[in-house]
C-alpha cells in the first residue's frame, strides 16, 4: 500500500497548505493532527508584550518563552525590556478630617517585549496557546500580530475598464 504524504516544497504555492511535513523517511502520522486545504496565513512579525508587577517572575517567563520558541523552531528577533513605570498616588490616611496626614501608594509595572519573526498561522496558534496557558497569575500580555496578504483580485485592475460602456446621463444639479 502506498503511503501518501505531502512533499516539502520550497516554492510559495506548495507551502501554503497547512500541516505539510518534512519527513520523507518515516512519515509519522499523529492521529491528532488534521490537515486542511485552506491556505496558511502568514505572520511577518509577532510582538508579545508582557506586563507584571514582579521583575523576577517576568525574567523566568522570558526564559520560558525564549526556550519554547527555540524548541518549536521560531526565530526570535529580539528580547526588549522597556523601563518600568511607577504609578503613585496620595490618599488621605484617615476616614474623616486629618488633612495633613496622608498615605502614599505606588504600583510598579515591569515590561518585557518579545519579537518573533516569520511564523505561519498554525505555528503562531500553537506557540501562543502554549505560552498563554502558562502565563503566571498577575501577569498581562498583549500580542501584536502582523499578517501579510496578497493584493485581492478586485484591486488588481480598475473596474472601469471591464464595465460595459454605459451612456452617460446628465446629472442635473
Amino acid at each position: 500500500m502506498q503511503k501518501q504524504y505531502l512533499l516539502p516544497s520550497s516554492n510559495l504555492m506548495g507551502a501554503r497548505l497547512a500541516g505539510s511535513h518534512g519527513d520523507t523517511q518515516e512519515p509519522k502520522t499523529n492521529p491528532l493532527v488534521s490537515i486542511s486545504d485552506e491556505p496558511e496565513t502568514l505572520y511577518k512579525r509577532l510582538s508579545i508584550l508582557v506586563k507584571g508587577h514582579d521583575k523576577a517572575v517576568l525574567d523566568s517567563y522570558e526564559y520560558f518563552a525564549v526556550l519554547a520558541a527555540k524548541e518549536l523552531g521560531i526565530s526570535v528577533e529580539k528580547v526588549d525590556k522597556p523601563p518600568k513605570t511607577i504609578e503613585r498616588f496620595t490618599l488621605l490616611k484617615s476616614v474623616h478630617i486629618y488633612k495633613k496626614h496622608r498615605v502614599q501608594y505606588e504600583m510598579r509595572t515591569h515590561y518585557m517585549c518579545l519579537e518573533l519573526k516569520y511564523l505561519t498561522g498554525s505555528t503562531a496558534a500553537v506557540y501562543l496557546e502554549y505560552v498563554q496557558r502558562n502565563l503566571p497569575e498577575g501577569v498581562a500580555m498583549e500580542v501584536k500580530k502582523t499578517k501579510i496578504e496578497k493584493i485581492p483580485e478586485h484591486i488588481q485592475k480598475p473596474v472601469w475598464d471591464t464595465l460595459p460602456q454605459v451612456e452617460e446621463t446628465e446629472v442635473k444639479s
Binding site: 507551502a15 526556550l67 498554525s122 506557540y127 503566571p136 500580555m141 501584536k144 499578517k147 485592475k157
Partner: protein
C-alpha cells in the same frame, strides 16, 4: 522580649489572687504564632491579663506549671491554653486529667502524632521532576527538595525557612516549567506546527509577494472579563508602489486619503475601529482600500479645474516662469532684429530646457549646492552672459 518580661512581673504580682475572667482571645489563639500574640499582647496587658506571658513560654513555663499544680478546678482557661501551646507541656496533662470533660478549645490533638517525614527525603536525585510538578501548583515545601529561604531576615539572622513560609506560596513559581519539561512539551507540540516557506526569507521578498500588512492586537489579562474593547482595532498598511496606479490615480489617491499617507516611506495606513467585531473592521478596511483604488482611476469633470495651488509638485509647463522666460527671450530676439522665432522653437532649444530642469529641481528638491550652481549656469547660458 521586653513585653514578656514585663508581663512575667505582672503575672508574679497577680499570683493566686482573684481569678481573671478567661480570655476567649488568648486561649485558642495562643498557638497561632508570635505575630498574633504580639498583636493581642497590647490589649491583654491593658486589661491586666498576663497574656504576654504566652510570648515566651520558655521563660514562663515553670511559673505556669507551679500555678497549675496548686490551682483549683476553676483555673482560668488561659492557663490551660498556655499548656497546649508548648508541645512538651501538653504531655503533662495526660496523667492528670481534670474532672469532667477534658476541655480542649482549639485543635490540639489529644495524642499528637509525630509528623510524617517529608517526601523530599524519599526523592532520588535523578527522578522525573515533571511528574512531581506536572502543572502549575502552589509551592509545597515537603515536595520541593531545595533549601530555600525567603522573607525578611530575623535580626542578625537569616530569612525564614521554607516550612510554613507564606511568601513562597504567594509568588507564582515555575517549578512545572523546568527546561526538560519545556522540551517535552515542545516535542509534543512540534507536530502541529508548520514551516515558514523558505522562499520568503527576507522582508523585501515578503513585501514583493505579499504587499498588504494587517496588524491586529490580542489582549490577555486576568480580571472579571476576558474581553478588551481595544482588540477590535485593525490597521491595514500597503505601499502604493505595489498597487496598479498611474500618475493621475496616485496623486488623486494621495489627495483622498490625506494624513493616512506617509511621503517618506510611501505607505498608506488605514486604521478601522468603527465596527464592533474585528472581522467586520477588517472587511471594512479592505472595502475602503477597494473604493479608494477604483475612485482614484476615475477622472471627474471638475478635476480639470485643478489650479497651480493644488499641484503636489512644481510643473514648469504653463507656469509664470515659462512665460517670463519666453517673453524675455522674444524681446532679446526682437531687439537683435532676428527673424521671428516661434515659441515652440524657443521651448525646444537647449538653453530653455536646461533652464526648465534647473527651475524644477530647485522647486521640487529644495535649495542645495548642486541645484543652485546648475541654476546659475542655466541662467548665464539663457541670457548669454559671460561672467
Amino acid at each position: 522580649m521586653q513585653l514578656g518580661k514585663g508581663s512575667a512581673a505582672a503575672f508574679a504580682r497577680a499570683g493566686p489572687g482573684p481569678s481573671r475572667p478567661p480570655s476567649r482571645r488568648a486561649g485558642p489563639r495562643a498557638e497561632r504564632g508570635r505575630a498574633g500574640m504580639a498583636a493581642r499582647a497590647g490589649w491583654c496587658c491593658r486589661a491586666g491579663l498576663s497574656c504576654g506571658a504566652l510570648l515566651s513560654p520558655a521563660l514562663l513555663c515553670p511559673a505556669l506549671l507551679s500555678r497549675a499544680a496548686g490551682g483549683t478546678p476553676g483555673t482560668p482557661l488561659w492557663g490551660r491554653a498556655a499548656f497546649s501551646s508548648a508541645a512538651a507541656v501538653s504531655g503533662r496533662e495526660g496523667p492528670q486529667p481534670r474532672e469532667g470533660s477534658v476541655r480542649r478549645r482549639g485543635r490540639a490533638p489529644q495524642f499528637p502524632r509525630s509528623a510524617a517525614p517529608p517526601r523530599t527525603e524519599r526523592m532520588a536525585v535523578d527522578q522525573d521532576w515533571s511528574s512531581v510538578y506536572p502543572t502549575a501548583a502552589a509551592f509545597k515545601p515537603a515536595s520541593v527538595p531545595l533549601p530555600i529561604r525567603m522573607g525578611y531576615p530575623v535580626k542578625r539572622g537569616v530569612p525564614p525557612p521554607k516550612e510554613g513560609n507564606l511568601e513562597l506560596i504567594k509568588i507564582p513559581n515555575f517549578l512545572h516549567l523546568t527546561p526538560p519539561a519545556i522540551k517535552k512539551h515542545c516535542a509534543a507540540l512540534k507536530d502541529f506546527c508548520t514551516e515558514w516557506p523558505s522562499a520568503l526569507d527576507s522582508d523585501e521578498k515578503c513585501e514583493q509577494h505579499f504587499p498588504i500588512e494587517i496588524e491586529t492586537v490580542d489582549y490577555v489579562s486576568s480580571g472579571t472579563s476576558i474581553r478588551n474593547p481595544k482588540a477590535r482595532v485593525v490597521t491595514l498598511r500597503v505601499k502604493l508602489s505595489s498597487l496598479n496606479l498611474d500618475d493621475h490615480a496616485k496623486k488623486k489617491l494621495i489627495k483622498l486619503v490625506g494624513e493616512r499617507y506617509c511621503q517618506e516611506t510611501d505607505v498608506l495606513t488605514i486604521t478601522t475601529d468603527r465596527c464592533p467585531l474585528r472581522r467586520q473592521n477588517y472587511d471594512y478596511g479592505m472595502h475602503l482600500l477597494t473604493v479608494l483604488y477604483h475612485e482614484s482611476w476615475k477622472t471627474e469633470k471638475w478635476e480639470s479645474e485643478k489650479s497651480e495651488e493644488d499641484m503636489e509638485e512644481y510643473v514648469w509647463e504653463n507656469s509664470r516662469s515659462q512665460e517670463n522666460a519666453l517673453d524675455t527671450l522674444l524681446r532679446i530676439k526682437a531687439s537683435e532684429n532676428v527673424r521671428n522665432v516661434t515659441k515652440e522653437e524657443l521651448l525646444a532649444s537647449e538653453v530653455v530646457k536646461n533652464y526648465r530642469n534647473s527651475i524644477t529641481a530647485l522647486k521640487n528638491e529644495g535649495e542645495t549646492e548642486s541645484n543652485m550652481s546648475q541654476y546659475k549656469e542655466s541662467v548665464k547660458k539663457l541670457l548669454n552672459i559671460q561672467a
